[in-house]
Symmetry: C2
Subunit: 91 residues, 2 copies
């Protein structure tokens, strides 16, 4: 089972890296670029053969994976003080 | 008009950062994590009031934005030698 976690800075947090990218794009001739925000994402591959979930329905396994990955994002992948994140379970 | 560019290392390229994250997750008790790949994404905001595109249909404006953002990704946002990218025009 695979899941993706998209992490972005909250809109109120200044993003200097994105600012630099936006300025570089304007310099390259893309004058219509107003703003760029940079974020990161993680593609997490979970072992589908986990005996604890093997006898659950596909829907329940998916929900369980989503809960686990949200927990991972909260604990390690994102800094909830300045970042927000979105979890997407793929298959 | 907003577009997102998702940049990931090509599957054949080793991702040490993702490896470290995967190991950290296993240490935190998520033993079912098999692998993590890390990528980045850019949210690009384009000026919709560009006079060069103002009299095009919404569909044509969208297609034009996609072409421009793909060009940006190729020139600046991604390194096509080791990274692949995906462009998504939002509105």
């Amino acid at each position: 089972m695979r899941a993706r976690v998209y992490v972005t800075l909250k809109p109120s947090v200044f993003d200097p890296q994105g600012r630099v990218v936006a300025d570089a794009l304007v310099t390259l001739g893309y004058g219509d670029v107003k703003d760029v925000r940079q974020g990161k994402f993680f593609e997490v591959e979970l072992d589908g053969a986990d005996p604890a979930t093997a006898n659950l329905s596909a829907e329940a396994q998916r929900a369980k994976a989503e809960t686990r990955v949200t927990e991972m994002a909260d604990k390690l992948l994102a800094n909830p003080v300045i970042e927000s994140y979105r979890v997407e379970v793929l298959e």
